[in-house]
Amino acid sequence: MNPESQLTRYPTRRTLLRTAAVAAVTVPALAGCVTSGSDDEPAAESGVEKTADNPLGVKTDAPLEVVVFKGGYGDDYAIKAEAAYTAKYPQAKVDHKGLQKVGEAMQPRFVGGNPPDVVDNTGAGRLDIGTLVTAGQVSDLADLLDAPSLDQPGKKVRDTLLPGVIDDGTFAGKTVALNFTYTVWGLWYSKSFFASRQWQYPKTWAEMLTLCAEIKKTGVAPWTYQGKYPEYINDPLLTMAAKAGGLDLIKAVDNLQPGAWKQEGLVQAATAFAELAGQGYLMSGSEALSHTESQAAWCQKKAALIPCGSWLESEQKGVAPAGFDMVMGTVPSLTASDKLPGAAIQAASSESFLVPAKAKNVAGGKEYLRYLFSKESATAFAQANSTLPAVEGATDGLTLSSGLGSVRDAVTAAKTDTLTYRFRTWYGPLAKAVDDATGELVNKRISPADWSTRIQKAADALAKDTTVTKYTR
């Protein structure tokens, strides 16, 4: 249902069912592992010489175990890369597992010290990457990044990825995960619906408010949002704040600096959304709708705009009527003196591949990722899944659907002006505090000033908490 992952925290019905079933019993049950287990030695280097042909020193006959999240994207793309791997190393036996509950299956194997060689830590219930890093369970991928790309001569793997991909997988200075898909957040609308009403997608927030007034007059709600999961409406709010305040604003937030949430950009963006709610531009009832319900209402043209990430088009397959032609617009700029250009986008990568530190075949795991992140493999993925892969230029020359095309155009227009907040992955409790506060803000129960005070309090408490591992960027 929902092909997303690392950065989209939205539960599907299946995960809810499972959640309800396991929660009561799992905590004591899982405890069985740690109280009896002991720490294993990390796997040694393969001891094979690194050559131009074998830059990571793979032992050619070592078996390789790959665990892939089999969600919205399936796992054919991973199997293709495995076939390419065995074509190069025919003696290596590849063991492939496509799972839906990667976290649940992998947790005991990490604790027991016998993890597989590659894990696609994705999907609801995935393991918290920050926790894995703190526990020393993931290997540094620096040598993979510096290895030559498989099919782009003269380039290192590091240079073939879209902006931000390496940062997304970097924790405490070490790159430990490579994300395979690239997600962009924006505001979605139906191109045909807008054309028939002669509405113009706005470039600034002032234009947005004018447009909303115009839309409202026609009896259509200007906005809806996935109210049951307030993080969806956070995304445009935080993007707008970042555009106004620049990358320094994001850094202050992610580094938990005192007063970070009281920065002008954030307060202004919160004020903008308070006004959006205050003017009645949000479809009534949105606050209680799940993502499926609100997105369906949007597809039925009950609302004109909806905030979402670039997975929306594939998620609405079969819901959006023919000729709906959904496209993603970049979040408007907040003020005339914004520090980032209007084309800047919030983008981050997901579908997180990592090589466990205690894997038996660490070199093989990294080599597998070199095959997976080759341009050929990424292009095949884009074609099969209408999703932007994290490899630069992978969609060149392909005919794209309206949604994916608009996403690619947004990425091209943004050039290097991509932004992303890291606090969501670094500090779960802070993300929860922000979601709760934003939910209250757009329901007119707190003021923008209260919003920033509340979140600041949560951030300060987190900064003081010595049990939480801190990261900086």
Binding site: L17, V34, G285, G428, G439, N443
Partner: protein, 296 residues
């Protein structure tokens, strides 16, 4: 012979006991130990932190919200469920046998559905725009009463409680009906001859004689009210929202363990919940014992 009997008894009991110890008792014991550590859930080791996790509980505002909400559930859900259950059960006594039997089956239906299914269905009912509840209110002209049931802090917990009551009341109707049927008919006849109305009969005859069933119901419903995780997780905004309005201890525990990777701290919540449930059960049963003495 004697020897053989012991062997048979041991053979029958030991496997079950071993399974119980390995899969029930030992995880509990380990949860107690883990609640004193900082285990992350993926590390092979955990270090001992003493009672730090328990000290944190006292300052965790979301956890305190959860405790408050569970206390509200505890005060309301058993009382309302038992009240409705008793009312319906004593009404069934007065209805024709056939009809009563039919009603009993209908009341029992929710018990056949998984709680998850119930929660999903009710979240459709509560949908503010297309849900059955608001549509029904609009249909009878009560537009003013329509709300975003699950998105308003004042109503969200009420909405959750209504689902908990709805899903459990049928079981207690059946339980209480059986208890009422066990009361000798002469007692009711005697009360009638003495000129007791239905109300007096209920308070003076029915209720005292089904008291033990009611006490058992209080224990069961109390435990259910201290949980409520499934319904909250599936139905509510957030989940646990809006803004902590429907947070329950189980929800905090789940999030702390599986989203925040703090299994040690989550175990401390689990242990606290364990003692709360145990205390409740002991208190309820004690109260029951006293009542029995008074009757005698």
């Amino acid at each position: 012979m004697r020897h053989g009997r012991w062997r048979f008894l041991l053979g029958a009991l030991v496997p079950a006991l071993v399974l119980h110890v390995v899969f029930v008792l030992s995880p509990y014991a380990q949860a107690f130990y883990l609640s004193l550590t900082d285990w992350t859930g993926v590390a092979g080791q955990a270090s001992f932190v003493g009672v730090d996790n328990y000290v944190r509980l006292g300052g965790d505002s979301l956890f305190l919200d959860a405790v408050r909400n569970n206390l509200v559930l505890l005060a309301v859900v058993p009382l309302v469920t038992i009240g409705i259950g008793l009312f319906l059960a004593s009404m069934l006594r007065h209805s024709p046998a056939r009809l009563g039997q039919g009603y009993r089956i209908v009341y029992f239906f929710p018990q056949l559905l998984s709680l998850v299914v119930i929660a999903v269905l009710w979240s459709f009912v509560y949908n503010p725009n297309t849900g059955l509840l608001n549509s029904g209110l609009r249909a009878i002209g009560l537009d003013g009463l329509t709300r975003s049931w699950l998105a308003e802090p004042a109503w969200a917990l009420v909405a959750v409680m209504a689902v908990l009551v709805w899903s459990s009341v049928g079981f207690y109707v059946v339980l209480f009906s059986a208890a009422i049927e066990g009361i000798p008919a002469e007692l009711f006849e005697a009360a009638k001859l003495d000129g007791a109305g239905r109300w007096a009969t209920f308070w003076k005859v029915t209720l005292p004689l089904v008291r033990e069933s009611v006490q058992v119901a209080f224990v069961y419903l109390g435990i259910a009210a201290l949980d409520a995780f499934a319904v909250v997780q599936i139905m509510t905004v957030g989940p646990g929202g809006p803004d902590g309005a429907t947070e329950v201890i189980g929800m905090s525990l789940y999030r702390t363990a599986f989203s925040y990777g703090k299994f040690g701290y989550a175990s401390a919540m689990g242990v606290a919940l364990f003692f709360a449930t145990l205390t409740l059960a002991v208190l309820a049963l004690r109260a029951g014992r006293k009542e029995r003495l008074e009757l005698a």
